[in-house]
């Protein structure tokens, strides 16, 4: 079945690369009836739009608390995913799964944690320039009072130079395509629609769990019909779960660590070795070239490359791209069982993918994004990081699996004490000390140990981003 593009919110299908100014508003619902009325009139961008014509747009998502507040009944709520219903920071078990301990514990979160008011609505604002964004923002804000909404937090974003993230690496290269819709991604990176949009066949060829509604509860037929049961309305269809985590990045600490570990005998910095270590950690060079394609240098010819495998290209042992490198563990491609290097390995891997739609926030340490300048700048005030946003339809099998089984797992693919060098939690979620990074090499590996945690969680929540018809249904509850 082709995607119903005009019923899917645009941000699920596109990153809005032409709308580089964005901000995210967290809102509480104080008067549900007013909020429902507001929802009916809200102009939300669908996936069917013309880039040239859209200078600004809105998308919207709800926490489970938000849906309850809007009046969705308990029996429908139980049909949403458990992870979504419970919430990101809700149980000690989920903290272990996500690695949200110590400084990153939900108790310390600025939003989404137990100590702050529960966000109900996430309103996402995108615009082509700063002025358009501030106009859009003030227009929206002026409606909050009558819409029964209480602003809880306003999360700003930045578009960094050279398409990079704060550590200084080109970002957004590993894109996930939807089968039958995106036609510019490699076969290994093209995944069944149902993995990202509810109401379509997933990577198992099945429909993912979601709430279906009896006709009596949708008398005027606002909802699309469920594909597997046309007598029922499909509240999930064309919707998706949005994982939102505010991740602060300690850029100075990252480069200081790489610098200290690669000093020469006389104590002088070794810029080439420093960059090489950092590249080994990431799995790509700062310019974007993947190590498996270009193991020795930051080759601009490969800067946007995403069509590669590990085993099939001979890097079985991690001699080019280390086994524990960030990009090899967040997307192992053909590395893992069953039968590494085979189509079956890729097929199984496709059950654990997400579509990333995040944005950076905070000013870069230095606008050159260069390590030497970062180190020369010393301690810079202010916070920076990434609003990590991703879409999936089975939070437990996709986002949480990646986070627990791959990112934070010190035993990933036969390792021992190595969590993700870039974003790992250093063993906390596995009850041990990790923070080792092993660089496979002949005749024998080298390794660095005692890595501090470079990324901390400052806030987060699971949201449901409904299809546009489902949004109208929620407005009419």
């Amino acid at each position: 079945m082709p995607l119903q593009v005009d019923d899917i919110q645009g941000i699920i299908l596109y990153g809005y690369g032409h709308l580089r100014h964005a901000c995210f508003l967290l809102l509480g619902i104080s008067e549900p009836s007013a909020t429902r009325a507001w929802l009916k009139t809200l102009d939300v961008l669908s996936g069917r739009f013309n880039r040239e014509e859209v200078d600004r747009c809105l998308n919207i998502a709800f926490t489970s608390g938000g849906l309850r507040r809007l009046g969705l009944s308990d029996d429908l709520m139980t049909e949403f995913s458990t992870e979504f219903r419970e919430g990101m920071g809700a149980t000690p078990h989920r903290q272990r799964i996500l690695g949200d301990s110590d400084e990153s514990s939900p108790d310390n979160w600025r939003w989404g944690g137990p100590g702050t008011p529960e966000p109900h609505v996430l309103l996402m604002l995108y615009a082509r320039n700063e002025i358009a964004l501030s106009e859009l923002l003030s227009e929206q804000q002026s409606r909050f009072a009558t819409a029964g909404l209480t602003p809880l937090a306003q999360l700003e974003t930045t578009w960094l130079p050279q398409e990079k993230e704060h550590f200084g690496f080109r970002d957004g290269l590993s894109t996930t395509g939807i089968e039958g819709f995106h036609n510019n991604t490699s076969p290994a990176n093209t995944i069944a629609a149902g993995e990202f949009v509810l109401g379509y066949l997933n990577a198992y060829g099945q429909y993912t769990q979601r709430p279906l509604v009896d006709q009596s509860r949708d008398p005027i037929g606002l909802l699309p019909h469920a594909p597997e049961d046309s007598t029922r309305g499909d509240l999930g269809m064309n919707g998706s779960y949005l994982v939102f985590r505010q991740l602060s990045q300690d850029v100075t600490s990252f480069w200081r660590y790489c610098d200290e570990q690669t000093r020469q005998r006389d104590g002088a910095s070794n810029a080439a070795a420093r960059t090489r270590l950092a590249a080994k950690m990431v799995g790509r060079w700062p310019g974007g070239a993947p190590l498996v394609k270009s193991p020795e240098k930051d080759d601009p010819a490969f800067s946007g490359e995403n069509d590669f495998l590990y085993h099939a290209e001979g890097d079985v042992h991690g001699l080019k791209c280390p086994i524990g490198a960030h990009i090899r563990r967040t997307n192992p491609r053909d590395s893992l069982e069953p039968d590494p290097g085979s189509d079956r390995s890729i097929e199984v891997g496709k059950r654990h993918r997400v579509i990333r739609r995040g944005r950076a926030y905070g000013a870069p340490v230095v606008s050159s994004m260069d390590a030497a300048d970062v180190l020369a700048a010393g301690d810079r005030a202010g916070e920076r990081g990434r609003h990590f946003l991703c879409f999936n339809t089975h939070i437990g099998r996709q986002f949480e699996f990646i986070q627990h089984t791959w990112v934070n797992n010190p035993g990933f693919d036969g390792l021992y004490d190595d969590d993700d060098p870039l974003i790992g939690d250093r063993g906390g979620s596995y009850g041990k000390t990790a923070g080792t990074f092993t660089i496979q090499a002949d005749p024998v590996r080298t390794r660095v140990t005692g890595m501090p945690r470079f990324v901390q969680v400052r806030g987060g929540a699971y949201f449901f981003m409904p299809g546009i018809r489902a949004l109208r249904f929620l407005g009419s509850l």
Binding site: I323, D339, D413, K432
Partner: protein, 451 residues
């Protein structure tokens, strides 16, 4: 070097004593890595241990099934030595737990001897017992991890990048030889006792011969069996209920403290003679397969299980399954769907309420939604769980063994290179046997189609 055994002791809990017993047992979440009441860590040969309370329930006819307590351990043989240790070293702890059970000696009559006879009287044999790899003792596993850590520190202390592989290996071997606490590793690990190995081979060949003798007969009646199977499968009633949210939350609260986790699942057998015979045959085959076919660290491509067992309960009305595995329950379920659905379907489709199968091997848990909803409805809480090495994955254990093995004997340059890579990552598993590889190459999910 001894092989590994599974001890199961099942006792009926005295009427009304379940809450008091559970209070003594507490939960995994309460205990952390060590539980003080029964100090399994003080026993020399225990890999894993657990206590599980099977709550009172009813069978399919509505007859009550009384609450029971199971003690399970995975130990190095001989089992007798382990039972003796339990009755002495852990005697006081066993008293505190089993005094809530029927037939346990009264306080005046408790001694190592009476405890021992209680354990023996209530011991139940597993219907099938899986060991990731037979022959690795607790001492070996823990010692080889210390060995690997020490060698790694040695590798950190020297710059080896320009050395030929042989020189690096020589340096490692001489480092280990110089350390009096590690020099044991220069000798290869002993294999399980010859008598045990001979008995295993006899079992392997004997059962295979028996199967060959009966194969023509089986083939002759197979159309009838397949017809009956399909008729039963079509009439099966899958349980589509969802486990209560609070019981799921309680189960999850016990999970993911370390890389290793545990699961216990219990269910009633489906009724009828056909299902009884089928279940018995499948469990026999399972026992055979895990002993002789899937015995090199991989269960049909699934390599994360350390130990697992299947045990009958209440005569043969119920079956429970326990396993000690690496990773989260979510990853465990995904692993089964992705890699070993056919085997799991064949075994557990004998269980009442199981997601509908198709020709025994297909369907079933390949319905992700149905499987992930069903499993929590059949889970029992393991109140106490112990692992002697909770931070080691099966791959870690296997890699450490290969590192130790490589310290002795001659090695070609290529083998030396491969061996040295084990200090970088340990993801190279030994190849499965021929029959296992044949099974693994079958795309079971494409074999059968049912409406």
């Amino acid at each position: 070097m001894p092989h590994q055994e599974a001890l199961t002791v099942i006792a009926r809990i005295k009427p009304g004593q379940v809450p008091a017993l559970k209070a003594v047992l507490g939960t995994i979440a309460d205990h952390g890595e060590r539980w003080v009441i029964v100090p399994f860590a003080q026993l020399a040969n225990v890999h894993f241990a657990r206590f599980v309370v099977f709550d009172e329930t009813t069978d399919l006819d509505g007859n009550p099934l009384s609450p029971q307590l199971a003690l399970m351990t995975n130990v190095d043989a001989p089992l007798d030595g382990h039972l003796n240790e339990l009755a002495t070293v852990c005697g006081a702890g066993l008293d505190r737990v089993f005094e809530y059970c029927e037939e346990y000696p009264a306080s005046a009559g408790r001694s190592p001897a009476t405890r021992l006879s209680f354990l023996r009287d209530h011991q139940v044999a597993a219907r099938a017992f899986y060991v990731n790899r037979q022959g690795r003792t607790v001492r070996q596993i823990v010692g080889e991890e210390e060995l690997r850590r020490a060698i790694n520190s040695h590798l950190d202390s020297t710059e080896f990048s320009r050395h030929p592989p042989e020189a690096v290996r020589r340096s490692i071997v001489s480092f280990v030889g110089d350390r009096s606490d590690l020099a044991w590793a220069l000798h290869p690990a002993e294999r399980p006792a010859l008598t045990w190995r001979i008995a295993e081979v006899i079992h392997q060949i004997g059962i295979a011969l028996l199967a060959i003798v009966f194969l023509p007969l089986l083939l002759l009646v197979s159309p009838v069996l397949v017809f009956l199977l399909r008729r039963h499968e079509k009439r099966d009633v899958p349980d589509t209920s969802r486990a209560p949210a609070d019981s799921v939350r309680r189960l999850r609260a016990d999970e993911d403290y370390w890389v290793q986790n545990q699961v216990t699942a219990v269910g009633l057998f489906k009724p009828g003679l056909f299902r009884l015979v089928l279940a018995t045959a499948i469990l026999q085959l399972t026992d055979y397969a895990v002993r002789h076919i899937y015995n090199r660290g991989s269960l049909s491509g699934l390599s994360s299980i350390h130990f697992a067992r299947w045990v009958s309960l209440d005569g043969r009305r119920r079956l429970f399954f326990t396993s000690n595995y690496d990773g989260s329950l979510e990853s465990y379920m995904d692993d089964f769907i992705d890699k070993a659905a056919w085997g799991l379907n064949a075994i557990f489709s004998s269980g009442d309420g199981f997601p509908r199968t198709c020709f025994l091997f297909c369907g079933g848990i390949t319905d992700e939604k149905a499987y992930k909803r069903f499993l929590p409805t059949r889970q029992a809480q393991s109140q106490v769980w112990y692992s002697a090495y909770p931070h080691l994955t099966t791959k870690n254990v296997a890699n450490n063994a290969a590192i130790r093995e490589g310290l002795s004997g001659q090695m070609s340059e290529e083998d030396t290179r491969t061996w040295l890579r084990r200090f970088g990552v340990g993801n190279q598993l030994p190849e499965s046997g021929l029959i296992a590889r044949i099974f693994d190459s079958i795309r079971w999910d494409r074999l059968c189609r049912c409406k």
